[in-house]
């Protein structure tokens, strides 16, 4: 029986706008199971990032509930939310958001330092994560010396190094050319298969969508369609 990893129930998120309120998400009820390779898709402003932020415990719902790995987001304190992200959730961003003062190794290592892992364990895991993304030879380079594709692969290694149950990827291919985009998604797909990590994307990139097993279409903050897709093998161009 599949393990439920994310569930939202009648989730609503409103932001103050002028004298009224803007509804970013309206009545979202979704469930994601462990090991899914799914995406929230839709045009800009449809509420994709807001939904990912709430699932990632960076924001809270206005109404309804979001439960991630058995933890109700609105009930978590700042520290508990940070701990949930620290132990269980990896983030991948549109711009790779690497810390420029640190090397590739140190950027990946940072997530493990926050978990108080020992230096030897950190070294082993960081090198393993860099191997997953094929960057083991670039460990001592600074982010400014990397290409866009390499930067995003470091970001994947940073998200994966702590072997989280859930990875949230917000438009991860938006700044990449087609070749790099396919390579990146394929890398994530491989990790999904190898480690059974749940991946949830926010995207409106067709290149990404063709790899996903499930597409949740958002329009104006509401679920327009929840589509299960049977994937063909090897999408690399």
């Amino acid at each position: 029986m599949s393990e439920k990893i994310i569930s939202t129930e009648n989730l609503v998120k409103r932001y103050p706008e002028g004298e009224g309120w803007f509804t970013a998400l309206n009545n979202i009820s979704l469930t994601f199971e462990k090991g899914e390779f799914a995406g929230v898709v839709g045009p800009s402003g449809s509420g994709k990032t807001t939904l990912l932020n709430i699932i990632g415990s960076l924001d809270t719902p206005t109404e309804g509930s979001a439960t991630v790995m058995g933890k109700k987001i609105s009930d978590l304190s700042h520290t508990q939310a940070a701990q949930l992200r620290n132990l269980n959730i990896g983030f991948i961003f549109q711009v790779y958001n690497l810390l420029p003062v640190y090397t590739v190794f140190e950027n990946v290592e940072f997530a493990l330092i926050l978990q108080n892992r020992s230096a030897s364990e950190r070294k082993k895991k960081v090198m393993q994560a860099l191997e997953w993304v094929g960057l083991e030879n670039m460990a001592n380079k600074r982010p400014s010396k990397l290409s866009g594709g390499e930067g995003q692969r470091v970001a994947i290694a940073r998200a994966m190094v702590k072997e989280p149950e859930l990875v949230l990827a917000d438009e991860p291919t938006a700044n990449l050319d087609a070749t790099n985009a396919h390579a990146i998604i394929q890398t994530m797909k491989n990790l999904n298969k190898e480690l059974n990590t749940t991946f949830l994307f926010s995207t409106h990139d067709e290149k990404v969508m063709q790899y996903l097993n499930r597409l949740v279409h958002l329009e104006d903050g509401e679920v327009a369609e929840d589509e299960i897709i049977k994937q063909t093998e090897n999408k690399i161009v």
């Binding site: 990632g56 960076l58 940070a82 620290n86 711009v95 003062v101 926050l114 978990q115």
Partner: protein, 424 residues
Amino acid sequence: MIKFIFKAILRDKNRSLLPITVVATGVLLTIALSGYLSGMLGDIIDQNARFQTGHVKVMTRAYADNVDQMPNDLALLGIDEVHEELNNDFPNYTWVNRINFGGIIDAPGENDQSKGQGPASGMAVELFSDSSGEVDRLNLKESLEEGKIPEKSGEILIGYEFADKLNVKVGDELTFMGSTMYGSMTFSKFIISGTVRFGVAAMDKGTIIIDFTDAQQMLDMADGTGEILGFYKDEVFMQDEVQEMREEFNAKHASSSDEFAPIMKTLGEQSSMGTYLDLVDSVSGMFVVIFVLVMSIVLWNTGLIGGLRRYQEFGIRLALGESKGHIYRAMIYEALLIGTIGSVIGSALGIGVTLLMQRYGIDISGMMKDATMMMPTVLKSKFTPQLLYIGFIPGVLAMVIGTMLSGIGIYKRETATLFKELEV
């Protein structure tokens, strides 16, 4: 984590260079100014103690009431007895006799004509007694411009500018004209054994120094002295100790109604020295308070600018699972490191400047030509152990307080807002 923070400080000049420069500059200024001020005020106090006030001074009550007039008619008599009492009660102090006197100095020329004449401020000290330590205390050997220290009765030292004015040189004869303690006229001839430069304009232009016994004889003050000065054996002024001494000594003589009974006054009670002493104490404190306030405001603003620049980094760290509290604490550790580095650099530079200024000082003799105040013509800094921390601790504190204030912004911003800084 500390190692990680340290790496970032070393690699990111934007994060470290400006705050370290600000802290180092502030610490440097605090130490250099504090050292200079305590050196300058310390010199003034020290010079006054050596030449005028002693660490304590014993005189008659009547003399003390009119001390500015050098009233030798109110001098202390029976000084052997007083010395015995002082030496018994306060053996850690050296007690020396001094007579201050005034008169006219005449430099005889050829054919009974005068080469020069002028008012003189005389000081009689125990030149021939090694145990008095007066030659060293007044720094006479180092102050000699020409000639030598008087070795026998009838020899005199004269300020070098005074000698120029009188047109006399070493070996020439001088005549002193004044009055004895009983009011009769007195004339004495002296041979100039040396000219001295004290570096104090008021003294260089009008002071003569003779031996104490010569003065006793000249002023008809057998067994008498104007003042008995007490100096702590290490020549260090001990403010609390002299207060106790004064109380003990004066209490012993309080029952006497004789206006010629001895009374003891501390350095702080003479020649406005108390004001200087208070100033020395308060100025250092003022520096520290002003430094911490100003630096905190400057570093607060620096921190705010740096913080705004780093909201993206904070967003990443939040996403990686670092809590706001952890980020805030890491910022404070970072401030502690930057403050320490800046303070070490500032302290080293400040102490370096102080040591240089202690050696060379600033020559203000040009401004002191007509000065009558007893203060040195070269103002020097003074290195004290206090300088090791007077800038260091406030430097670190200012950086930490500035960061704590600017870091509050992290708490005030919603996590989602900080995270949105990542969106381009």
